[in-house]
């Protein structure tokens, strides 16, 4: 179980190989996102014993179980609240949260905005596949206009969230977005997010190929992932990915960064001022 970590990135150093094969559908963008996370962890040379991965409920939520670290598969929408307790109790752990668009923007929306506001040192990876993958393809708060889901059989009529704008407005001190196709860029973004001392929100534009892709005739899994590139206009490589697979002017890369006081550090200095030593 305890593989020595090789110098070059070998994903097997970070996976629980005894949990393979994983349950994701072939071509699912969440698998690419997981690879990017583990690659970032490798480049940061993080000690797996001191790494905690907290996830919610959904296909995205299942990812924590595959990571060879301290992993917590919590309740739907609550991983940020759980991680808040964990990180405050254990500032020595690096805490990464994996959540879905439904998990963090619908049921967990309140927890997301307050996590952004507090600025506790957590890294939140929001895997946005525009759909509730786990429950079989219902509309989510990020479903694009007119898309078909099982609960929008006539096409989606609801407006969607721009999660990064939401996170920025709520005060997240690090906000970024990347598509799964750009794996090295995504890895770099996640690495920056983890290294940032404060709350980091990273939106990963991921594909639910099997359910959402099929229902909306977006092509086969590889086609769907390649669409991300196909639709990128050459002039948009300066951080603009237009119509990759979701219409709209999605900015990618680091969208906001602000070095403001980290919540845990602020709490501990507050304690120190009142005679309380460092939390045990």
């Amino acid at each position: 179980m305890n593989r020595p970590v090789s110098k070059d990135f070998d994903i097997r150093d970070y996976l629980r190989l005894d949990r393979m094969p994983h349950f994701l559908c072939p071509g699912c963008g969440h698998g690419i996102a997981l690879r990017a996370l583990l690659w970032a962890i490798h480049e940061l040379d993080l000690n797996k014993d001191k790494l905690a991965v907290v996830s919610g409920i959904g296909c995205s939520g299942r990812l924590s179980a595959y990571v060879d670290a301290n992993t917590y598969h919590t309740t739907h929408g609550r991983p940020l609240a759980f991680a808040t307790g964990l990180k405050l109790a254990r500032p020595d752990l690096t805490v990464v949260v994996i959540t879905g668009d439904g998990d963090s923007l619908a049921i967990g929306g309140n927890h997301l905005i307050h996590a952004c506001r507090r600025n506790l040192d957590l890294t939140c990876l929001m895997l946005n596949n525009e759909v509730y993958g786990m429950t079989g393809g219902q509309a989510s708060p990020t479903t694009s206009a007119d898309r078909y889901t099982t609960t929008t059989p006539l096409g989606n009529h609801e407006p969607r969230f721009d999660a990064c704008k939401l996170a920025q407005a709520a005060g997240a001190s690090f906000v970024g977005r990347e598509v799964t196709l750009q794996l090295p860029a995504l890895k770099n973004l996640i690495r920056e997010g983890i290294a940032h001392a404060g709350f980091s929100f990273v939106e990963v534009m991921s594909d639910c190929t099997e359910i959402y892709g099929r229902k909306n005739e977006l092509g086969s899994s590889p086609e769907m992932v390649l669409r991300q590139k196909h639709d990128v206009r050459p002039e948009s490589y300066g951080n603009q990915v237009e119509r990759p697979f979701r219409p709209g002017p999605w900015q990618t890369g680091i969208l906001a960064r602000d070095e403001r006081v980290e919540y845990g550090a602020a709490w501990r200095s507050h304690c120190a001022q009142h005679g309380g030593g460092v939390a045990p």
Binding site: D49, A52, F82, R90
Partner: protein
Amino acid sequence: MNTSTQLVNLQGNRACALAAIAAGCRFYAGYPITPSTEIAETMAAELPKLGGVFIQMEDEIASMAAVVGAAMGGAIAMTATSGPGFSLKQENLGYASAAEIPCVVVNVMRGGPSTGMPTRPAQGDVMQARWGTHGDHPIIVLTPASVPEIHAQTRKAFELSERFRIPVVVLYDEVLGHLVETVELGATGAVTPVERRYTRAARDSYQPYAPDEDGIPVMARPGDGYRTHTTGLTHDTNGFPTQDSVRVARIMERLLGKTDRHRDAIEQWHCIECDDAEVLVVAYGISARAATHAVHTARARGIAAGLFRPITLWPFPERAFAHATRHAHTVLVPELNAGQLRLEIERLCAHNPAVHGLHRLDGETLTPAQILADIERLAASKPRMRRVGDSA
């Protein structure tokens, strides 16, 4: 070291918070709600001095999630709330129950349903405390009846929760929460804080949910190299989900069997004049205060009345209760609800002895006179009733 005890006047909620701190609680996450707020306020003032963590979360769902997160990190953790907030705690209380995460939840009961009567006492959450979260699950519920007992039972809650890895609910009502009584605080250092038990197993053979000889799995501390998985999905001894029916049956049997197997360590009760009681009053919390008075008066009037007071409400101390009813022809259950514990008592008695309820739902407490009137009426309704002092 100061070995003398200290007598202090404390409000119930404050006694609860101070007992939690004495028990070693160093993490509190909560959301303000009457009539429990003084617990949060005390924690907010005291925990920083000890290097602990107090955090006011965005709601009760988040506070309960933060508590289980902190507990998994190794903190001795608690939250406190009242009715509407208790409803919101249920989701992650269930998670704590399933993933066997030690934690304490205090519910200071107020009038319900819904927003109800925030400043009035009630005992309407008896069944919610037992069955509030979905699915069959183990839970322990303690119901103190005085401020000193709030202090003692809050301490006990942490001890039981750590030992059996079951969330423990401390359940009392608005009157007890705001009542001021004298508490004898132990000498400095007399209350030993609870300690989490951690595994010393070899890292590659450790199974996070393999039971020890008592049926309780031993936790691993994150950071110590065990790198385990925790989930609310039904999980095998290795911590990972399973739906294998044979294994799931065994897993559920162990999980639900924890309270049964350790009844002797969990169940607490108090008996007044139960030995020859013919009319047995079963009361808890604030109602037990009035009942105690009523039973003493009844005795003075020659009626063989007794009081069985469960301190552990769930699991209900069934055997002790059965023993207390051995001479009773009637059981009276006065409660500030529509008869929630009465249902359980009826189940246990199977109508022998007969069970009567006395319910009050108007936001006032039951008075000794009300309970006494029922005791007298019920005593008189049994012609062959033996009086205290009769020969035989």
